[in-house]
Subunit: 500 residues, 2 copies
Amino acid sequence: MTLEQAKEKLMDLQKTITAYNHALGLLFFDGATSAPRGTAANRGQTMSVLSQALYRLNTRPDTVELLAFLDENRSALNEREQRMVDLLRKEGRKMERIPAEEYMAFRRLSVEANAVWRTAKEQSDFALFAPYLQKRFDMSRKIAGYCAPDVDPYDFWLNDNEEGISRALCDDFFASVRSRIVPLLQAVQSRPQLDNAIIKGRFPVAPQAVLAHKLMDVLQLDPLHVGLATTEHPFTTSLGSHLDERISTHYYEEDYSYSMFSIIHEGGHALYNTGSDDSLAYTVLDGGVSMCVHESQSRFYENYLGRSRAFCEYLFPVLREIFPEHLKNGTAEAFYRAINRVEPTLIRTQADELTYCLHVLVRYELEKRAMAGELAVADMPDEWNRLYKEYLGIDVPNDRRGILQDSHWADGYLGYFPSYALGNAYGAQFLRKMKETVDVDGCLRRGDLRPINEWNRQHIWQYGCLYRPADLFRRATGESFDPTVYADYLEQKYTALYDL
Amino acid sequence: MTLEQAKEKLMDLQKTITAYNHALGLLFFDGATSAPRGTAANRGQTMSVLSQALYRLNTRPDTVELLAFLDENRSALNEREQRMVDLLRKEGRKMERIPAEEYMAFRRLSVEANAVWRTAKEQSDFALFAPYLQKRFDMSRKIAGYCAPDVDPYDFWLNDNEEGISRALCDDFFASVRSRIVPLLQAVQSRPQLDNAIIKGRFPVAPQAVLAHKLMDVLQLDPLHVGLATTEHPFTTSLGSHLDERISTHYYEEDYSYSMFSIIHEGGHALYNTGSDDSLAYTVLDGGVSMCVHESQSRFYENYLGRSRAFCEYLFPVLREIFPEHLKNGTAEAFYRAINRVEPTLIRTQADELTYCLHVLVRYELEKRAMAGELAVADMPDEWNRLYKEYLGIDVPNDRRGILQDSHWADGYLGYFPSYALGNAYGAQFLRKMKETVDVDGCLRRGDLRPINEWNRQHIWQYGCLYRPADLFRRATGESFDPTVYADYLEQKYTALYDL
């Protein structure tokens, strides 16, 4: 095999992997959008066959040899090719170390556990879900043991979600933000509450859908390559490559701001994915590099931009055209205050910008301790409720609105929650850096996001997965990660809003 | 390899084939329903990789050996296993004979040709599409030559769509129905026209969607396993197995009967697929056996049941609840006459029950003669227009509403159109047989389709692809195919309606 032939095979291999992932992603998307309710087992059957084919492709001798050969000749590869080989070898080695049967069982557990979780949530019955959660922890520990026997299992999963992070880093990060956010929240709660009548009422789906498309337009999402669906829980997915992106939303009739911010949030994910350089399509470098960086973008658009006073000044007249009756006496300032009202609530996905991190913190502590065997699965609901009381000051009435609210643990995402909070904090540093060269508030006031998107494209999006998250962060900001920037931002914003 | 092991491998092979077909079907479904417009190339890339994998699976030595081994031991196989082996070998041999490159090129042509056809239709520009249609005929002749060098190419494709049919059979069939339908149409046209004001007006989508779901309910489609989507052209597809079925419709605001009959038509397809015995799931025997039998079911529900006086008597009060203002002065009889109004028009999918076959006849004659080299692609539009004048008595104003109206030739379906007409004719014999034991009109008047579905399930649906279409037909009806039953049915119905 010549080097040129090997490079060609490398590209073919990635095209094949991409195609399988496209099919698997579309099966998931279909399940979340159009599929009739009784079809999960049928879809599970197909996903199992395709996952197995993908597993074989990643682990079969000619793939392993090809990647080893390219690695031996890595000095003759360019930066992109080296990274492709590294990412593919990492994934292949992980799969190789896990016995095929256990790998498949681990994947199957997600399908089964999700179905049980759904019922358990509907019936608010944690006991129903507990055996699956137990299996989730047991199998995750076992898988971690196969892949990285010398590493703490929770560290393995944290790092699997986000190259380079660890329990130590998360402990420091959460301790730091907690020490700033909890007192800030207490101060806010001692002040008169902000009025949010301007976003509450009865808003039919049709005008909300008009707003959704208007926002996609303002975000500069390309309608030829980004579609919108409606789902129970909003999400974003790339299908096959960054050239086919789907976001979804959920319309609540009583509050148009929920769908509005879900569009901006998912739009941030979609912008990041679709911003990959086109030449990365059909390679493992295509799309966002990690969940932290992804959340740094989604929450950047949702909060740093979407909940800013400047953007409200642009958006309010647009909203008044869509909901003329409800907003006829409103002002941009009243809208700004309404969407930034702080209120400790039970549900993470509906949390305000300030309390959001505390929701994540509860989940982090629980999964970390359960993984280490310091917390029994049976005791997790009580511990969940205790921590909500301690950090957010509220009582959890039942498990449906408590520990059963999120699907992550059912779906197999352990060590994933911290990325939501870390991403928030990354975003604060991106914003500070961007403001050195871009008139962010001016852009927002005009509703012209092009210069903002351009900065993100140039510094973050275009690279896809070429750089490790920490390296990408350093290249973009010129500094290392510092959670105090995030805490400072929150303090400044809420001190002004609540007149502290 | 023991026989037991081989049988197990046979089932595994079919599960794998099913999974690939599920993914390919879902990619198609996504393209027709949710996908943003600029994503076809991305989807094409994935479909090409998966088709190639499927091609390899069908043709690789261990598959060929397995099927040969089972065939040698066919006396030890049950009826189902024998049929599985036969169908798989037939497909495998076809693929083996076509060089891989040409097989892929043939599949790629469908994706490209469909995109060009779409533009050509929009712009009513046949010249744009002509080179692709030429390629379609050229490649189809070549493929037929590889697979069946001793058979006439058009016969090969007819038989590929419908085991056992031939040009001779179609010629006879069309000559027979033409000799009955053309004079009948002329007689109808000499009489006063039926009024159809009761189905025309302005009907918003929301109540039409209510009607769609009501009809699915009346048809006894299982909502856990049959989903409804909206698309430009209504269709039905099984995803993975008969356990996940999707139908689609299109709502026209000016006429609620279009969506209504598309739901009943596609519902007939879906009933047939979902009626397969559950044990056939994930095998090649799952779902409908052929296009003729499929159309015999879809058009059975649409016309023999849906456009019958008895069903109108049941349905009219339902419709009046959904469209109270428009229907307040209507009657079931007026509705029956409106939906059975005969009017030669340009568009096949909107044709009435009587003229429908003539639309198909035009397409049959054209593709048959083009395939034989007796008609140049460039001359096809003129010939299309001439035949519409001759059979239907109408002038075709442009190619958009003429030869460019259907996507079949672009998509690769040559020799497919006749099944629409043959299916119609099959249905007439199924109905006559069913009426020997089922009070069809009584069921329809009560809106209780269970006894009708049960007859179809018992005699047709449950078998999936176990029997060849002609054998299935003979088992169900106890007789051989006789197109005069169909012609008699039409003559009787329209003689009464138009008082001939």
